[in-house]
């Protein structure tokens, strides 16, 4: 019987080294500055926020890209959820602070309201925090299926993303009533 020229252990080591090298090359190419970085189809922290349309309570269709260059919160709610109402009250409590900042809060009803009936978005906002309806820093409306799929694929009833001025998703969380402290970090004064 002829012994193989390369001992088995050396062969395994070479295979492992080549796999590591290939892996690091792929990682380096992916992370290289200037490399093509396509916008993901689902909102992911640290990645560019995908564009999607929503409809305001006045019936106007707006693209998320319209807010490029400014921080924005995409908050998807259901109008029957107590934590959503509490979250809106929390935003109302911090209205002055938000008005001094460059932040816009998009309060969007899930496109099918979480599969359960509830009041219309305007009625919900009116009953919980009416002054916010007239505040330009707050935009009320409902999302589209496209926005829902991109920003809430797991169908949570109370979820938000903070998109920074650079267009990247910087935070994904839920229940602003309990997590407003995280949002405060993005309340920078208007440039």
């Amino acid at each position: 019987m002829v012994r193989p020229f390369i001992p088995r252990k050396v062969g395994q080591a070479c295979l492992a080294a080549s796999m590591l090298l290939a892996g690091s090359t792929v990682a380096a190419v992916a992370g290289a500055p200037g490399a093509a970085c396509p916008t993901p189809t689902v909102a992911t922290s640290g990645q560019l926020a995908p564009n999607a349309p929503f409809t305001t309570v006045d019936g106007k269709v707006v693209q998320l890209d319209a807010y490029k260059g400014h921080p924005v919160i995409v908050w998807q709610v259901t109008t029957w959820c107590p934590s959503c109402a509490a979250g809106l009250r929390t935003f109302a409590d911090h209205q002055a602070q938000i008005d001094r900042s460059d932040l816009t809060v998009l309060v969007l009803r899930d496109y099918d309201n979480g599969g359960y009936p509830g009041p219309a978005m305007r009625d919900f906002a009116k009953s919980v925090a009416a002054p916010l309806l007239k505040d330009p820093h707050f935009v009320f409306g409902k999302d589209t299926k496209a926005l829902f799929d991109r920003y809430n694929p797991r169908k949570f009833v109370d979820i938000y993303q903070v998109i920074a001025a650079d267009g990247r998703v910087r935070l994904t969380s839920s229940s602003p009533s309990a997590t407003f402290g995280k949002i405060e970090a993005f309340l920078q004064p208007r440039p």
Binding site: T78, R154, S174
Partner: protein
């Protein structure tokens, strides 16, 4: 079996008289009541915080929720006092009603607006796609029937208390 209100109150009164006869038993029941009150005062307003418990949820406690917490804590601590007395007398314990009440009381806070249910449904739906459609409507139902669920929880706990009182009296001969 028919339970009349005055008879049920009389049964409870006599059973509690036996179970809380000693100062130590009263002290234990009071300590448990205060601990349960704190627990429910933290738990019930978690519907407003998406399931987050702690000082943050305490900030959202309403007068109505505080009252419910008082009732639940009283029922739980008295049932426990009767249960401990019954055990010492060699009686069996049947915590079904109290456990059912305790679980029902937790449902709105921990399920209505938290990611727990959607994540569980997603996991189930990966195996059984049809199940994926039922997740969020359940949350909507829980959120809009909070009062009913608390009423059922209190009724179950009261039933548990009544059962414990009857067992205590059945061995007090």
């Amino acid at each position: 079996m028919t339970v009349t209100w005055p008879a049920a109150v009389d049964t409870l009164w006599r059973a509690l008289g036996l179970a809380l006869a000693s100062g130590r038993a009263r002290l234990r029941a009071l300590a448990l009541f205060l601990a349960a009150l704190l627990f429910y005062a933290l738990l019930l307003p978690a519907t407003s915080t998406g399931g987050t418990l702690g000082l943050i949820s305490l900030r959202f406690l309403t007068l109505g929720e505080f009252f419910i917490a008082l009732v639940m804590a009283a029922l739980l601590s008295l049932t426990m006092a009767l249960g401990v007395y019954g055990l010492r007398q060699g009686q069996r314990v049947n915590p079904t009603g109290t456990l059912l009440g305790a679980v029902l009381a937790m449902a709105p806070s921990l399920l209505c607006c938290t990611p727990a249910l959607p994540l569980a449904i997603t996991a189930i739906a990966s195996l059984l796609p049809a199940a994926g459609h039922f997740g969020v409507p359940i949350q909507g139902w829980i959120a809009t029937h909070e009062g009913t669920l608390y009423a059922l929880a209190i009724a179950a706990m009261a039933w548990g208390l009544h059962g414990s009182a009857r067992r205590v009296l059945s061995c007090a001969c």
